[in-house]
């Protein structure tokens, strides 16, 4: 006989709806992939990557490893909810098989098991028997989840204990789903307790004791209270399942699919594909990106952080001013526990918003360049800092490098600044122009002083030659013994430019180079965690006053160890810092040039 009671309906209907939504969207996303990615997906399912994806799902979606790395309490909170609930479902299903008389259980049977089964034959402390063990286990797991719930409540009041300063401002659907999620487990606890107490058996160490206590107070009415609570429990689950696809908790099914996509080698494209849509869905709105955003804590702009931006994309409420108000420094995606590339999604959205307005670059000169083995491309910004150009010229001459100064008489922009506005098609004209120029020169190495150019040369130009930032090239020259150096002992703090560090993954060469000409001091936030100087070309809608706030904040971090010189590897950072720094700001090339004997 199949056990049934009317109260299982809200849960069952909610579950059916949720499963329908998950299957529907997963199939829409998978079928919506570009042809090449679909092929990757099909081969991926039958490869070893499938198992590494499963492993990652276990570690990230259930255990929340990255959250643990960030903060132990935060990690535990997420783990107790995700892994705890998962184990409750798993063990509940196994437990229900003991009492089951049919081959297949209806899905609600394990969830409301205690309502249907009041087993008096075995007591919970007889945990050497199978039913006794499960009673103990299920209570233990419920306690595990409840401990996470307590932490979640504490987090609202004391986010600092969880390594967070600010938490996300949630919208209505998120709040409804969150309240349901929070209530589900206490209501389950009380419903089970009342039932166990009323029947005098069937509970574990937690529910049985609590239930016995309840019966002492409520006597006969316990049975009716219990029934009402089972209704409440079922309703809460039902509401949670129905709101889930419209709330932050949609990240659960999205993230699982995202992990599979990534493991199968599927990546984001320059326009929206299913991959990007899954990424947008996978944002859990945990708010980790809020604290790392300099626009937030340094410039008091609190509505543009990745979490809010991604939400506005999901809700189709993107606003141009908000879209263009982002440093594109990459700090949020470095911190994101789900690994969402918020910057590339922002550029895709900017592209969609960029309008039809064309650019006219027909004025660009088309003289073929001279032939040279090495090209030096200073870049627009370097032309604003002539000291860097002077240093580079001096060093290259001394080292006897046969080079051509490609943009000596004026720079045709590399294209990245215009690309950051989303106007890919216009940027492509500049990319094409410079690319032809570079190829015509017949060079084998292209050296640039500007990390912005460096990044776009590497990512977009698809050049068949070596592309180097000058810090890499100078280090190579020094290692080859071509630059004689005097030892200097000035205390230097090094600033990682966004596009060289997070953007170009080059952290070591500048440090190695500086160590040869100066003494590096510690900077609290550096490397992957380094700050934007405030001069970013990624942001369009910001006042110069707010930019200054960011610069000042970055300077505080850089001068924490009282350096004598602030060294950077980017002309834009140099120019930005020079305006406000109380110490000397030098580019790496200048430091090397100064260290060369007369």
């Amino acid at each position: 006989m199949i056990s049934f009671n009317l109260f299982v309906l809200p849960f069952s209907l909610g579950l059916i709806y949720l499963l329908y939504m998950i299957i529907r969207w997963w199939s829409i996303w998978i079928r919506g992939l570009p042809a090449e990615d679909q092929k990757k997906f099909r081969t991926g399912i039958f490869s070893r990557n499938f198992f590494s994806a499963l492993k990652e799902v276990f570690l990230e979606s259930l255990i929340h490893r990255k959250m643990f790395r960030r903060n132990a309490l935060l990690g535990y909170m997420h783990m107790s909810f995700a892994f705890g609930w998962f184990l409750l479902i798993l063990c509940g299903n196994i437990e229900s098989r003991i009492y089951s008389t049919t081959h297949v259980n209806p899905p609600y049977y394990p969830i409301f098991l205690k309502f249907f089964i009041h087993d008096r034959t075995v007591l919970w402390f007889e945990i050497n028997t199978v039913p006794g063990f499960f009673r103990f286990l299920m209570d233990f797991l419920l306690l595990f989840v409840l401990s996470g719930l307590v932490l979640a409540m504490v987090k609202r009041g004391r986010p600092k204990w969880f390594g967070m300063k600010r938490t996300t401002h949630h919208q209505l659907t998120d709040k409804v789903a969150l309240i349901c999620l929070w209530l589900i487990f206490p209501v389950r606890l009380i419903a089970e307790s009342f039932t166990d107490g009323y029947y005098g058996a069937g509970g574990g160490f937690l529910t049985q004791h609590l239930g016995n206590l309840m019966v002492l107070i409520f006597h006969e009415s316990s049975r009716h209270i219990a029934y009402a609570l089972w209704w409440a429990y079922s309703l809460l689950l039902g509401i949670f399942f129905v709101t889930l696809p419209f709330s932050r908790f949609w990240h659960i099914p999205s993230e699982v699919l995202l992990i599979f996509f990534r493991q199968f080698g599927i990546t984001a494209k320059k326009s929206t594909t299913s991959f990007t849509e899954v990424e947008i869905g996978a944002c859990s709105r945990c708010g980790v990106c809020i604290d790392v955003c300099q626009l937030g804590y340094a410039a008091h702009i609190h509505d543009i952080q990745a979490v809010y931006f991604l939400r506005s994309v999901r809700d189709e409420q993107v606003n141009r001013d908000i879209l263009l108000r982002c440093l594109v420094c990459g700090r949020c995606q470095e911190a994101c526990p789900v690994g969402i590339n918020a910057d590339s999604i922002r550029l895709i959205e900017r592209n969609m918003f960029s309008g039809s307005h064309a650019s006219d670059f027909t004025y660009l000169p088309a003289d073929p360049p001279q032939k040279a083995p090495v090209l030096y491309f200073a870049g627009c910004m370097t032309h604003l800092t002539p000291a860097i150009i002077r240093a580079m010229k001096g060093i290259l001459k001394q080292a006897g490098v046969d080079y051509l100064f490609l943009d000596e008489k004026g720079t045709v922009c590399c294209g990245r600044p215009i690309m950051l506005s989303g106007k890919y098609e216009q940027a492509e004209k500049l990319v094409h122009f410079n690319r032809e120029l570079i190829l015509q020169s017949g060079a084998h190495t292209l050296v640039t002083s500007c990390p912005i150019c460096f990044r776009v040369f590497r990512e977009e130009y698809k050049l068949p030659i070596r592309v180097m930032h000058h810090s890499q090239f100078l280090l190579e020259l020094i290692k080859a013994g071509k630059i004689p150096l005097q030892a200097f002992h000035r205390k230097v703090a090094y600033h990682d430019p966004c596009d060289l560090g997070r953007g170009g993954q080059e952290y070591d060469a500048p440090r190695e180079l500086l160590a040869k000409v100066a003494e590096l001091v510690e900077v609290p936030q550096d490397g992957e965690d380094s700050l934007c100087c405030g001069g970013s070309l990624g942001i369009y809608t910001i006042s110069s006053r707010k930019r200054d706030l960011i610069t000042h904040d970055a300077l505080r971090n850089l001068t924490a160890s009282q350096p004598e010189v602030l060294a950077t590897a980017c002309p834009l950072c140099k120019k930005t810092f020079s305006k406000h720094a109380e110490i000397e700001v030098l580019d790496i090339a200048e430091m090397v040039y100064d260290a060369m004997p007369e």
């Binding site: 006219d360 910004m381 720079t411 369009y540």
Partner: protein, 110 residues
Amino acid sequence: MKEFGYKVHKERLIDYDKNDKRVLEHLKKHEPSVLTCIACGSCTATCSAGQFVDFNIRLVQTLLRRGEIEPLKKEVQKCMLCGKCILICPRGVNMRNLILAIQTAIDKLK
């Protein structure tokens, strides 16, 4: 002979009472720093595009105030958005958004 020296060419006439301020109004709202320009010309002196073509932010400002939409549209097309001018500007005019906002405003006119 009566009208010698006083003839008004309609196409050369800029009537400040009737000029099209829609783009300027959009900018006042979305990039108010446009009003702080003192026309010093630093941006033009440093301009990357200005090395190759006659491109002048001061002219952009003038066209904007005169409401000459067509020439304005042509003028801003020359910008490469490299951002040197922002670093040079003594008045904190946010030139890159100025260009983008002009383009957006002109798009909206259609």
